[in-house]
């Protein structure tokens, strides 16, 4: 098997995540889709690290995980605060700026 298949898998997962961000209306599920995209990019990093023979890809994937953890904390806090005001987790309901 050619190791480029890992990159194909990563591309497929990233596309599913991007599609989910556009498709789903629940803010938490949209967040999960973003996590899926980050995971897909991590898989590409790890595979490229092995293909190219350097550990830098793994270090970058590690940093991506750290940033993703911080992002989840802030994002879920924002969802919580929006929910406490509007009693809804749907991204269509947050339309205060709409004219």
């Amino acid at each position: 098997m050619n190791p480029i298949n890992y990159i194909y898998l990563s591309a497929v997962l990233f596309s599913i995540g991007a599609f989910g961000v556009l498709f789903r209306r629940n803010a938490i599920v949209v967040f999960m889709c973003i996590e899926l995209m980050l995971n897909a990019s991590n898989l590409a990093f790890v595979s490229f690290a092995r293909i190219n023979g350097t550990l830098d890809g793994q270090v970058v994937a590690f940093f991506v995980m750290v940033v993703a953890a911080a992002e989840v904390v802030i994002g879920l806090a924002i969802i919580m605060s929006i929910f406490s005001v509007r009693r809804s987790a749907s991204i269509d309901d947050a339309n205060l700026l709409r004219s």
């Binding site: 098997m1 050619n2 190791p3 480029i4 890992y6 194909y8 898998l9 591309a11 497929v12 997962l13 596309s15 599913i16 995540g17 599609f19 989910g20 556009l22 498709f23 789903r24 209306r25 629940n26 938490i28 599920v29 967040f31 999960m32 889709c33 996590e35 899926l36 995971n39 991590n42 898989l43 790890v46 595979s47 690290a49 092995r50 293909i51 190219n52 023979g53 550990l55 830098d56 793994q58 270090v59 994937a61 590690f62 940093f63 995980m65 750290v66 940033v67 953890a69 911080a70 989840v72 904390v73 802030i74 879920l76 806090a77 969802i79 919580m80 929910f83 406490s84 987790a89 749907s90």
Partner: protein
């Protein structure tokens, strides 16, 4: 474990091929399941499947450290956080099917498919003739974790330091976002009692307890007032069904019927809940 992993970093064995197809299928299945689950909790469980499969793929790809971090951070901490927030805002909150923007779903399908095709054809142009493998860099360092540590505390030490600032900021930010200010002092028991005695309409005394008779001692049996009429207030609020009536017989053979008025003016909230 490291021997098994390190043995094949420069070549792709048939076992790895098999594991890739199984785990890759699980990954895509989990992602699609997350996409098409109506309930957010099911989505969370599906994506946990994907994340565990990815962790094993990292292990196969000579990244045991990242594999463990993936399991601990993602399937452990992040998914726990997701489920925690899901339980806080209500599990049964499923997606609305109303399209706010007209034709948005169809556009999403087209854009998603187009993006996937674009990405796959872009990757398809790559050619990997040989895998270098990580043995050459992990062997001198003494292992995968030692090699990553040398990079993190060497070349990437500045990024690592900035990461600590990011994590602190995220923790403080989450607290600031979810913190709610209390504008009035929390009422003490004394303040609640004084407010109750100053207000009108709320009984000062405990409510009468339900009636206990020779034939009836159920909690929905009303007590008899001195004039022989039933006291509606003695029945707990839970059993005061509007418009319902109940007949019971006293010991001397009188049939007494209680009915609860439909307007519910006797059901005065907190005052009667002491009866339950």
């Amino acid at each position: 474990m490291t021997e098994v992993v390190a043995a094949g970093t420069a070549t792709v064995s048939s076992g790895e091929t098999f594991a890739f197809w199984v785990l890759g299928g699980l990954c895509v299945l989990g992602a699609l399941g997350m996409l098409f689950s109506r309930k957010a909790v099911h989505s969370a469980l599906w994506i946990a499947t994907t994340m565990v499969s990815l962790a094993i793929l990292y292990l196969i790809n000579a990244a045991p450290f990242l594999s463990m971090v993936q399991i601990i951070v993602y399937t452990g901490a992040v998914m726990m956080l997701f489920l925690f927030v899901l339980m806080l805002i209500g599990v049964d909150a499923s997606d609305s099917l109303v399209e706010t923007i007209k034709g948005q779903r169809l556009a999403a399908v087209l854009v998603g498919l187009g993006f996937g095709v674009l990405l796959l054809t872009g990757v398809g142009g790559l050619a990997v003739n040989q895998i270098v493998g990580l043995d050459a860099v992990t062997e001198p360092a003494g292992g995968n974790i030692q090699g990553i540590a040398q990079l993190i505390f060497g070349r990437y030490v500045l990024a690592f330091e900035v990461t600590s600032a990011l994590l602190i900021t995220a923790a403080v930010g989450a607290m600031v976002y979810t913190h709610r200010e209390r504008f009035v002092p929390k009422p003490t028991q004394r303040m609640l009692s004084e407010a109750r005695f100053r207000s009108s309409g709320v009984p000062r005394t405990p409510m009468p307890s339900p009636g206990v008779f020779a034939n009836h001692n159920a909690v929905d049996t009303p007590a008899l007032l001195p004039d022989g009429s039933p006291s509606v207030e003695s029945v707990p609020v839970l059993f005061q069904v509007e418009g319902a009536s109940r007949t019971f017989t006293t010991a001397d053979g009188r049939a007494i019927t209680t009915s609860f008025p439909a307007d519910g003016d006797h059901a005065d909230g907190e005052g009667e809940s002491e009866n339950r």
